[in-house]
Amino acid sequence: MIRFESITKAYPDGTVAVNGLDLEAPTGKLTILVGPSGCGKTTSLRMINRLIEPTSGTIYLDDQPTSGMDAALLRRRIGYVIQHAGLFPHRTIVDNIATMPLLLGESRQKARHRALELMERVGLPETFANRYPWQLSGGQQQRVGVARALASDPAFMLMDEPFSAVDPVVRAQLQEEFLRLQREIGKTIIMVTHDIDEALKLGDQVAVMRVGGKLAQMATPSELLTSPADEFVADFVGRDRGYRSLGFTAAAGSVAVGEEWTVQLGASAAEAQAKATGAWVLVVDAGRRPLGWAQPEQVHGELRKEHLNLSGTSAQASGTMRQLLDAALSSPSRRGVVVNEHGELLGTVTATDVVKAIEAEPHLETAR
């Protein structure tokens, strides 16, 4: 557990970065500090491992005040991940990861062994072990950064905008992987981000901070969306929060999935015409995995790849209402593709079906 007790950071010029912050990050959970720039979220984070010293107040690590500890020794107990990874350019990947164990007095061989294990864990091929950071892409460097923070198996981790310097596709991938990893390792983590979507996606609990370094609200993601404490939080959480809160409502069986006829690539125009509902027919591969929608009237001869419209998303039956609704809305046929966990087609849903199911959900208001 990491606990802030009326922490204030004021600078000599009178700027107050953090103002009387009380906060508790429970053991084994991922707590996210989010807010606009200038809200003191990064300052708050850096006060935990004393890269910045608070002006007043105390931070506790498992009920021990950090102020009395040796700063370097305190930092060696806490994993730290930053925006651009901050790798040591003069060390190989494996040596970068082994940094903390070596500092803590592990033998070189043990530290390297542990580093190789972690590389596998964060999805880096072993062939990268003896490369240098400049030879890796931004996303790969960030994985090394995460592995390095985990190398000494610290109970606590601090992450400062860890995924914001990579492109959106890689970011989403890193976020997914990180969530999976955290489920396995259950560290006590505090992460800073300016991206509310990232906060809602990753956080077990989210602390929204406002400019001037005050806590506006601390709640679970779905609480933030459904009952923001005030106008500032509501604004910050965003305009389409009604839609986004559906991302926290499990669809699990509440929406009836309709049957959908399908064709495969290579089918004749006549077959596609016969299987179509309205103007569109769903095309699947041999394993019944959806490939896309096609309009039979545009098909002459046989159905080929270039006839496919790929605009529709697909939702897992075990996913959220948001994914189901998005599948329906993004589909050119207005029928959303629903698949099982192996990506095989189960059927389709319409937006009307999903909305009906949402209206029927009594517990949608809050997940408290």
């Binding site: 890269l51 370097a72 930092r75 730290y80 040591f88 003069h90 190989t92 940094t99 400049w134």
Partner: protein
């Protein structure tokens, strides 16, 4: 070119070359050792930086001959003592390298320095294990300039009668005889190139991690 003269003077020329190497390289090493803490100080304090770099620049503008003559007075050494040359060239090397070391430490990415601190490196550990190693390419670039400059400055000491390759210039001038002058120039150039090459090799050995530049 009088090769017969060169043959006769061979032992003497080797002796002069030996002194030249000693007088050029010793100050290079001493200068680097002194410039490291000074450069670190300049890097650490934004207020000290302009002062140290300014003083260093001023020192470099003092004519070498003047320094060779002045130093015995300050140090209490004899005018013919080679120590004067070592001291003077050390001052020039420090003057060149203070800024280089400060800039080398400044060149280390902020993220890297912050990560080192956050992972629990103490300040001296971070300096020795992260900041200095990462600053090596910048430092060795400065060291190359200082090495070549020292080789050429040493020869001025010939005017004071301290033996090194510069003695060949004065000798040739007095005898109106070009052979020693040409030999001196060639040896100085070769010596400078060898020192330069050694520093390049040392840099390569210390920095296997820098991106390899692809020849295009």
């Amino acid at each position: 070119m009088n090769f017969e003269w060169l043959g006769r003077q061979f032992d003497n020329i080797v002796f002069l070359l030996g002194w030249h190497v000693l007088l050029a390289v010793t100050p290079l090493i001493l200068g680097l050792l002194i410039a490291l803490p000074l450069g670190w100080w300049a890097h650490r304090s934004r207020r000290i930086y302009p002062f140290l770099v300014g003083v260093a620049g001023l020192l470099y503008t003092v004519p070498s001959l003047a320094l060779f003559v002045l130093l015995p007075v300050i140090l209490g050494t004899k005018i013919l003592d080679p120590l004067n040359i070592v001291a003077a060239l050390t001052i020039y090397t420090v003057a060149l390298l203070v800024r280089v070391v400060a800039d080398a430490l400044d060149s280390v990415p902020q993220d890297t320095v912050q990560a080192a601190k956050a992972m629990g490196y103490r300040a001296y550990q971070s300096l020795l294990k992260v900041e200095l190693p990462v600053g090596v390419p910048v430092i060795s670039a400065g060291l190359r300039v200082a090495a070549v400059s020292n080789v050429s400055l040493v020869s001025v000491a010939a005017l004071l009668g301290i033996p090194q390759l510069g003695s060949l210039f004065t000798q040739g001038f007095q005898l109106r005889f070009f052979t020693p002058i040409i030999a001196g120039i060639v040896l100085c150039v070769v010596l400078a190139m060898i020192l330069d090459g050694l520093i390049i090799l040392l840099n390569r050995w210390l920095t296997p991690w820098t991106p390899k530049v692809v020849a295009s």
